[in-house]
Amino acid sequence: MNRTREALVGLVIVVAAVVTAVGVLWLQGATWGRPQVEMEAVFDEVGLVRSGNAVKLRGVQVGRVREITVDPAGDLVRVRFRIDEGVTLPDQPVVVLSPESLFGDWQAEIHPRTRFPRVRFPEPREADVLPGHALPDISQLTAAADEISETMLVLTERVGIAFSEDTAENIASLIDNIEDVTTQLATLVEQQAASFTEVTDDLRQATQGIGSAANQARVTLERVDGLLARDEVESTLQDLAGLTANLRGLSAEMDGTNREFRELAAQVESTFAKVEGMLEVVEAGDGSLGRLLHDPGMAEEMEGAVTELQLLLADIRENPRRYVRLSIF
């Protein structure tokens, strides 16, 4: 065992140790003395970000994620990262985690908060900690897209079943009719509001009348709702006409008015306005049919409007004084 061999053994060990140490530091992204500042951000969850991922500002890498820990309180994830000293952050900086590529590597980007107005960021307790948000990763997006496409499929199928040429025409004319009715209703209400100058004795009766009218309206709208199934456009239109007649008759009965009733009238008017607005929406777009089909909330909204009307009338029935004050004196 001569000296040279001994020295060589030592040399090999030292070289291996140095290579390992330098290699690990390098691969971990050591800065080799470049000054950096440590920062922290909190997240509801962090997706697939891991320590060592890039921290970017305007697309340029300025640092790396160092450590990810769950906050002791359990409701937040704390991510510590280092960025180069002297990097100026935007106003109200937030950290957004997102996939860097499609292959599972993530990044942390620093953005001004204003770029994400609709994202709800967790509010950090400490002043120097940034709020952060993890964007859904590709798998989540795929899942959502999947769901949407499934719904579309169901919808398309239903449309295919319900809509023949005839029903389409019927609905088109129905919509024209509904518009008419609504215009009539609106003018009627205006007339009523003007002519209600006195309190009538049969206010109660009147409200009941409105109630039944509203019921009728509800039935009518339900029928609209069910139109796709039942081919009763004709009778629906008759119903609407009847309803309008009813209301007109009602207004004739009510020959008195006061201020409170004016308010009631305004409310009724706004309700009808809503219905009208809805119908306008139906009208708009490509011949309106497609739009009706693409807005599943439409029927609900119509129904909601009627419900509102009914509630209003029920309220009038129960607390007429709130709306109508007897001015006998």
């Binding site: 065992m1 061999r5 001994e6 060589l8 053994v9 090999v12 060990i13 070289v15 291996a16 140790a17 290579v19 390992t20 290699g23 690990v24 390098w26 691969l27 971990q28 992204g29 891991r50 320590s51 060592g52 590529s101 292959f103 590597d105």
Partner: protein, 260 residues
């Protein structure tokens, strides 16, 4: 007739007993090896010599293997990734594979041939020429004198050689990517650092250390139990290489199951 039916079973039985006995002998030798740590005066001055023999002398073969592994990994990765995957993933593949698998395992297998065979042959020869008995009569505990320095040298030097092999392998993969794949250094380095975790290195060292332990103890075991002259030495050497190579692969799977 019954004999013919029973023959395969008795073979299996004999093999099982032999395997159990072998594991038992290995366990006893290992235990004796650790007990021999107290004879520092015996093994202390032999350690460096064995480190040179087991570690230093193995560097060239390990580096040679690593160079070609790196080249092949790089080229095959790019071949596999064509089109679908960005080329910087060549860096990921070369780095991860060298660190987690090929660095430790190929080095281990190469050294099981070189070191395991050497140990088994040397100790086996000493056994059949009564040199081990001679050690005993001169009051040298044979395990402390022969086994312990080799096992310690294996435990210390396998990780050292493996570290060099990994570095060289990644280096050669990198050069290949640069020269033959039209990749740029930043691209390769991006792949290299992308999924790197310090645990990868720890994992490589755990593997290398255990391989060093297994290869040296198995070499010593077969050497110690050598019987019957030159032929016996030949048999022991072959068995040592076969068994330690198999143990490396089993251990490799074991670590992958337990640590990853």
């Amino acid at each position: 007739m019954t004999e013919r039916i029973l023959a395969p079973f008795s073979t299996i039985g004999r093999r099982a007993v032999a395997l159990a006995a072998g594991i038992g002998r290995w366990g006893m030798l290992t235990a004796e090896t650790f007990r021999s740590l107290r004879h520092v005066d015996v093994w202390g001055r032999l350690l460096l010599q064995q480190m040179a023999k087991i570690g230093l002398d193995s560097v060239p073969i390990a580096v040679f293997i690593a160079i070609f592994t790196g080249i092949v990994l790089s080229l095959q990765a790019s071949y596999t990734f064509t089109g679908a995957v960005p080329l910087y993933f060549v860096g990921v593949l070369v780095g991860k594979t060298m660190m987690l698998e090929l660095g430790p395992v190929l080095t281990g297998l190469a050294l099981s041939g070189r070191v395991g065979a050497n140990i088994a042959a040397e100790i086996g020869t000493m056994r059949v020429t009564e040199q081990i008995d001679a050690l005993e009569t001169m009051a040298y505990p044979p395990v402390a004198y022969l086994v312990l320095p080799r096992v310690l040298a294996g435990i210390i030097m396998f990780p050292v050689v493996t570290a060099l092999a990994i570095a060289v392998g990644i280096g050669s993969g990198w050069l290949t990517a640069l020269q033959l794949l039209d990749m740029s250094t930043p691209e390769f380095v991006r792949g290299l650092t992308l999924f790197f975790e310090p645990f990868d290195v720890t994992f490589a060292f755990i593997k290398a250390t255990s391989f060093g332990f297994v290869v040296t103890t198995i070499g010593c075991l077969f050497g110690f139990h050598t019987r019957g002259g030159a032929e016996g030495v030949g048999t022991s050497t072959t068995q040592a290489v076969v068994v330690s190579s198999m143990s490396i692969l089993v251990l490799d799977a074991f670590w992958a199951v337990t640590l990853l």
